[in-house]
Subunit: 466 residues, 2 copies
């Protein structure tokens, strides 16, 4: 099972390297099978590919030491955060050392007046927001999982707030990075904007650990709005839901969140999160602003929804209700996979220009309806980005092939609409052939950059391109 | 006069190259002195450095041809748009061919439902907005000059709307680029976001023509708001003005524009643009939204301004008044230089975290008050970014040295505050030593990327780093 990747070129770790890492890290260095297996698993359908050892870093200095020792030994280093990526991004394709940064979990600075903070790479997004809440600030990027900030930067993650607050591309102000040759660099100062040289920050954001290892991240923050309202609204058609969003944006409504879930995903969420939403295409909305302005946004969007075949808005007025709604949305992946007991998940995503989104979702939906594998559609409709989650019976090899074919058609459909093969999951192992279809010779430039910054190919080899 | 740069390594263009370019471009290829001089001038204080020839491109194919012929001959290619950059970014340090893209001025697509457009690199921002207006769309990035979109992408320009709408970093969705080896690549699809591989778009944005030549740009657009209100407000102190902005942002007010002009800049603007503003530190505001929401923003910000020593808001209610106000702001550079007849300008900028902005401006102001050279301060206060414009008597060599020293102190002050040596002008020739002070060994990575993508050093040599 698993995506077709080149055969692993494994060899045992040199004994001198094992000794040196053991000496440097003590009980934070592991060669036991259980620990390696834990770092060789994927959240989704990829076959396990365990590393030969696992190193836990406590500091940027630890990362430097591991990178230097591994480079000198010609051994791969695979940075690892929460392990929640979905395109096999942390699998040890060629063995090597999995470098776990989850214990680098200190929040180093919160600069409230500057709306920024500096965190170690292993801080998780939920813990960061819990820390920020008392200061009236929040960090908006929210992939489904409680991922680490370093991992989110590495995959250019986004989530439900991206339509209003952007993705990790916009959220990261600066990075501390350990390079392949063991240097520690900072990609930018803490100023909000800069025209000083090449944009190294954006070069490392989304590079999936292949160009350097992110150890600290300076993040842009936002003020918690005075008023927040969330609601769900069912629609007769996918087109009606998408049109409501397009028209809202045309009117300048700053939708904070607007998520689409198809009927199957709603059924899955109802079961998993014990909700009772009508099993129809549904938008989950959130509005941010002053009390008066939120009321105005709600009024306008309500009128647009009604004109586009939307039903009544069901409001989550209290904070607990609202949190329950978004928790259900964040757990939608698990809800979808659990449509079948014992199933494994396959999550894929594409992103297309807004004008093609309704068509792209509808065609994908038709394809899913002809499939024997249960699958849900959910997406960040304000960005033109949507996911399909398949619930695969692992005992049926044919199902994996069927899903692979559907995924293939979905990606090619998006590319034909001038879209991208992944809006927020990254390339990892699963989308490499599509990256080339999408960008052609531009991928040669990426290879040239990789060769320039990691000439020995030590950093997360086999990812993005092989 | 001019910044200290390494001595030009000039040699006459090979005759075979002149013949080949002449054959390819016909009357769009020039070797005459007048045309070369026109492309060897800077908007600011840099000494003229003319190219040896000027080529006008009409198409991406023209650009490919010029790049290939010049690379084969070992001759530099310097992309040129409107020539309005201020750090000597288009000067022909080592001679070569200035490649003028201003005749590539077609608007190729406007995708209203997707809020984007595709333009050739030579389109200017004012012409683009004139074209978009009827469709209810606008492109917000507005450096002072009517620059080309390609030039704005190359210097990572921003302007007065950046606090709300971002800079060229956020505005560019995709680029068509001619590489140093003459290939045509597209950096991204037209989707709003993507996690597909390295962020080549952001790598080229701000690379000042040193990594490739941008020939087409896909831009993110915005809906023209239902209501727009602009006002000016004078303050007793710089700190009062800055605090008003910080507190507004903390309250979640989405200021569309908020510009600071010091008393000297106001005097210059009053003369140049025939206004009668009080000669005090002044904020220029603009609010965007629905009628009701703009009224609410105005009310809140008015209260904050009053509490921070601000005077009455002077409103520009009619569109013509508002346009006149922003025209005055956009011409502030020329107004400042013209404080003295026959003077030449030196424009510099830095950007610091918001919490340090008032202090940084105040210390800079004190420094200027001790100088014999007239100078103004103006800035994009919501970003922490401000400019100083000096009005230098070209007959007095000592003035240039005095300005150089003030600029030096200003940049180091910003760096000491964790700021950047340039918020939106770029490095060009003028800020190279500061780039190294700012980012240290990270600059080595930039050099490695340059070496990987332009191994022969053909593209705009001597810029960003020498």
């Amino acid at each position: 099972m698993g995506a077709p990747v080149e055969p692993p070129l494994r060899k045992p770790l040199p004994e001198t390297l094992v000794a040196a890492l053991g000496e440097r890290l003590g009980d934070r260095f592991h060669v036991g099978q259980a620990m390696c297996d834990e770092h060789g698993r994927s959240e989704t359908h990829f076959s396990p590919m365990p590393p030969d050892a696992v190193a836990f870093a406590r500091s940027t200095d630890d990362v430097v030491a591991v990178v230097n020792l591994c480079r000198q030994a010609g051994v791969a280093v695979i940075p690892f955060g929460a392990g929640t990526s979905v395109e096999g991004n942390t699998l040890a394709v060629r063995g090597g050392v999995s470098l776990n940064l989850s214990r680098m979990d200190r929040i180093l600075q919160v600069n409230a007046e500057d709306f920024d903070c500096v965190v170690e790479a292993g801080v998780r997004r939920e813990e960061l927001n819990a820390h920020l809440r008392d200061q009236g600030l929040f960090f908006p990027i929210d992939p489904g999982a409680n991922a680490t900030i370093g991992g989110m930067a590495s995959t250019r993650a986004s989530g439900t707030n991206a339509v209003r607050y952007g993705t990790m591309r916009e959220a990261v102000l600066s990075l501390t990075v350990v390079t392949a040759d063991g240097r520690v660099i900072r990609t930018s100062r803490r100023a909000r904007k800069s025209a000083a040289g090449y944009d190294l920050t954006r070069l490392f954001v989304g590079s999936e650990g292949t160009l350097g290892i992110i150890t600290e991240v300076t993040l842009r923050l936002h003020a918690i709005p005075e008023a927040i309202s969330a609601a769900t609204c069912s629609f007769e058609t996918i087109g009606g839901a998408v049109d409501t969003v397009v028209q809202s944006i045309q009117l300048g409504i700053p939708l904070a969140r607007v998520e689409i879930l198809d009927d199957i995903q709603i059924r899955a969420v109802n079961v998993w999160s014990k909700l009772d939403l009508p099993e129809q295409t549904t938008l989950f909305f959130e509005f941010h602003g002053s009390e008066r302005y939120v009321a105005e946004q709600v009024e306008t969007v309500g009128e647009l929804a009604a004109a586009n075949g939307g039903g009544e808005f069901r409001w989550s007025h209290r904070t607990e209700e609202r949190n329950a709604l978004w928790k259900a949305r964040h757990e939608a992946y698990y809800a979808a996979v659990n449509l079948r007991p014992g199933a494994i998940g396959w999550a894929t995503d594409v992103c297309v220009p807004m004008s093609r989104l309704a068509e792209c979702i509808a065609e994908t939906k038709a394809d899913l309806q002809n499939s024997s594998v249960p699958a849900t559609i959910l997406g960040h409709v304000g960005d033109g980005n949507f996911h399909v989650v398949f619930s695969i019976d692992p005992t049926k090899a044919a199902e994996l092939e069927e899903v692979r074919a559907i995924n293939n058609r979905m990606v090619r459909r998006a590319l034909a609409m001038d879209g991208t093969c992944t809006g927020e999951h990254g390339i990892g192992l699963g989308k490499q052939e599509y990256l080339v279809e999408e960008l052609g010779e531009a991928v040669d430039l990426m290879r040239a950059v990789k060769q320039a910054l990691d000439p020995q190919g030590v950093l997360n080899p086999g990812k993005i391109f092989s």
